[in-house]
Each structure stands twice: as C-alpha cells, then as structure tokens.
Symmetry: C2
Subunit: 269 residues, 2 copies
C-alpha cells in the first residue's frame, strides 16, 4: 500500500515525528535511516510498521521487493523535514516495533566468540562495536550493567544496521552483581578475557591463543572495566601501546581484539 | 603576559574569530582546543601566537608553566562564544602559526613503520589515523595525492593533538604520478604493503611477517587504493571479514594493521 502524504500534521506520520527531540526511544520504536539500513530492517526480526520516503527512494526499494502489507508513505523533502524535525537528505526511513532480544541460553548454545560490554553508555561506541563485531565474525554482543540502549536511533545508524542482525542479550544484575552472570559463560565453556590498558596484563595474543570459546570483556573509555568484572574473568589482556600516548577508542580496541581472535583460530582449524 | 578582554570585537581575539565558518584554515593557523591538546601544542614545533580561555583554565595551564612571551587572553564564556561563534565549554584555545612539515628524507632515515594515505579527504578519519598511529608506535604518516589538510581544526581535535607531535610529509605528484615517490621508500628498504578488502589478497599477518621496515598503504573508505598505487607496492594484504558485512572504518583497519605490525616485530627482537 503506497500513499502520498503532503500534510506534515497527518497522524500517519507520527512514527517519524520529532526524531531529534524524543529520538523515538520513549515510543519504543526502531528507526532505520537510508536504503542500506532500511533494507536490513526489512530482513530482520523486527516487525516493520511503515516506510516513509521520497518517491524515487521508494521506487528503488519496491523494485527489490517490499511486503505489500507494509504501508509506504511518499513525502516531499519539505514534508519529511517538517515532520522529522531535520533535513533527511537520504530520503528513506522505516519504523519497526521492538522485538524481544535473543535468549542468552540460545546465544551460548552455538556462539564461539562473544563480546561483553560494561558501562558503555556512548551510543556511537555501541554502534561501532556492532559494526566491527559483525564484520569480524563475532557471534553476539552481551550487555553488562550500565550500557546504553542498543536500539537507539544513533546506534542503528552507526552500526550500519548490524544491531538489527547480530544477536544480543542483557546480563541481569546491578553494578556489583551482574558479574555473577558471567558464570553462565564459564559453564558454557567460554574463556573470559578482560581488555585493559594495564601494562602488567598479558599480551592479547597470548591471552587468546588456543582457546575454543572466548568472551571478550570491554569497559567504557576512560574508567574501563570495574575491578569486580575483571576479577570474574580468567585473564587480563592488553594491547601494547606506545609510551606517552592515550588509550585507543573503545570500538577500535575491540576491533583489534576481534582480529586477534580470528587470527588465533586460524591454527585451530 | 595575561590580559582580560571583554569586548568580542577586540582585534587581539581575531585568531579565534568565527572558527566554524572559516575553520581558520584559510588563515593558515593551527587551532588547539581543550587543556590536553593545548598542552601538546605548547610542546610542539609550532610557534604559539596566543592562548585564549576562561580564568580558571588559564590558571591551571599557567601552573604547569607557559612561556612568558605568549599572550594569554582571559575571556568569559559569553565573550568566547561571541568571538568563536559557538559555545566552547572546554574554555581553552591556543593558536599557532603553521610550521614546515618534516622532510621525507629525515623521516625515512630513522623510521621503521610508516603509513601512507591516498585520497583520504575525511578529516575525522585523518585525525583518528594520527591518534591510532601514535598509540601503536607508527613513526610517521605520509600523504599521497588527494588527502585532506592534516592541520585542519577537526583533525587536531580528533587526533587528540598527536598530529602536532607525530612527523608527517606529503609525497609529491598528481593522481597518477605520486605513486612514483614510493620508490624512495623502497630505496630506503621499506616493504610496501597495500591494505585492500580483496579476498584474493594475502592475510595481513603473512604480508607483514619478518619485515624489518614496513610502509602500510591505505585508501579512502569506499573507493580504497587506486590500482596505480597498489601496483607500486610489494604485496596486497587483507584483514579477513565475515561474509555479507561491510568493510571496517578506515582508521579501524589501519589500527588493526598497526597492531599486527607491532605483533610481528615482537619476534624480530
């Protein structure tokens, strides 16, 4: 069903209204922006509510196939800007309802590599984490205490839609208790590795060598992992840094660890 | 010399005027923002013209020592916002004149690892490249054709000031001729390695193994290196990616290559 809408006040456009102000997070929606990410939302487990875009963008999307029961609203650039609250030059948005995350047991049953985040509130870092994890063959992202919302609009965009594809789950507990959930990972055969800038830690390559299943723990830029979390892991691993420099960006550190993990499994066959 | 200035029209504040509009690039200045980067500018080879900031920020800087001949202008938050054109909550800026880049021959005389960029116009990527290069022990950044200005304000900021410390140089030539300059690197004993997503390329670890001096070539996100550039190198290297995913961010790719380079030199002793 495709309809042209020219009135910015039309209630059928409410799902994409004032996106910058409320970020739609309060409305518990998932927003995909641009053709690539909209395509990934359509292929995902999230039930799509509507698609809003410029005529040519909708034409291109429909040429690749869109389920007929999803409403598609054709709007002008001016109308979309008036509704969304900013100029959306990519001209294509899709909105979905949230869906339950993947059960932890299901993830642990098949995963060989997972990353566990603690206290990572920055949405750009969470998005980059999903992009890097997907690109480097990590099987799932697990959230410890104090992390940002993985379905926040900015995360979806920065992840290039990979947050819609890659399984993730939240570990239960508070600031000082969530670490107990890591026991489930140990029970499932995972070797738990904390990433830390501590020069006394093992070289990353040594920490990962010969391990069949690995969980990489990463803390926020600045504070890093809590001592509570590191104590719950098997080993502390560092990426060597030049003297007098700053630590790397969080998602970059993780990407290096994902690379080393993939590299170390080459010899496992 | 410290002076309080309350008139936003005062010509002594011209160096920090309308920073967003002109980005000061037209004026051939170097702008450092925030205490960390200002400190790095003061330690750099760039001649500092003035420092502008809130009283407490200047107090803290002066406590660490500032050459007496550098003018320091104390301003209110309102004055600084009116002059710079945006609210500068970190409250400390320093401005320097540009200085000549490091001669290529001087870099090649001592460097063991360099990165060479081609067609990288994105200032955020250039800044992240410097941050990662400094952090992972890369000795210099070399610019092939078509790259952005390494002294652009955003580069200085994203690099966390490392662009002010790490040597860099531009290789001469046009789009199709700059690659000849790579011969100078070969003559100096560098093994030239192109980074590419091409699945037919060698694994990065194999491409770097056992090499005493390495130059890593990186192209822009999207188009990547030109065929011209890749032909001028000794080997094409890839970072393994999961099927159906996107390539990694440029600076992230480079960080992984820097890590592997450091890792491969561990056994060289």
């Amino acid at each position: 069903m495709r309809l042209r809408i020219d009135d910015p006040a039309d209630p059928r456009l409410d799902d994409v209204r004032d996106l910058n102000r409320s970020d739609a997070a309060d409305r518990r929606l998932v927003i995909a922006e641009g053709p690539l990410v909209v395509g990934r939302l359509l292929e995902s487990r999230f039930p799509v509510r509507c698609i809003v875009g410029f005529g040519p963008k909708l034409d291109a999307l429909e040429a690749e196939g869109v389920p007929e029961d999803i409403p598609r609203y054709e709007v002008s650039r001016e109308t979309l800007a008036a509704v969304a609250g900013f100029d959306m030059h990519r001209g294509l948005l899709a909105v979905a309802d949230r869906a339950p995350e993947t059960p932890l047991a299901e993830i642990l049953a098949t995963a060989r590599t997972v990353v566990v985040l603690e206290g990572v509130g920055d949405h750009e870092n969470i998005g980059a984490m999903f992009r890097n994890a997907a690109g480097m063959g990590v099987d799932a992202v697990l959230f410890g205490n104090g992390c940002g919302d993985p379905l926040y609009r900015r995360v979806v965009r920065v992840s290039m839609g990979h947050v819609l594809r890659l399984p993730y789950a939240h570990l239960e507990g508070t600031y000082t208790t969530w670490q107990r959930s890591l026991q489930q990972l140990s029970d499932a055969g995972f070797h738990l590795v904390s990433l830390t800038p501590d020069p006394a830690a093992e070289h990353l390559a040594d920490a990962l060598e010969g391990r069949e299943k690995v969980a990489l723990l990463v803390g926020a830029e600045g504070p890093g992992l809590t001592e509570h979390a590191m104590r719950a892991t098997d080993v502390r691993a560092r990426i060597p840094m030049a003297p007098g420099t700053d630590s790397l960006n969080l998602a970059t550190c993780a990407a290096i660890a994902f690379y080393e993990r993939d590299r170390s499994t080459r010899s496992l066959g």
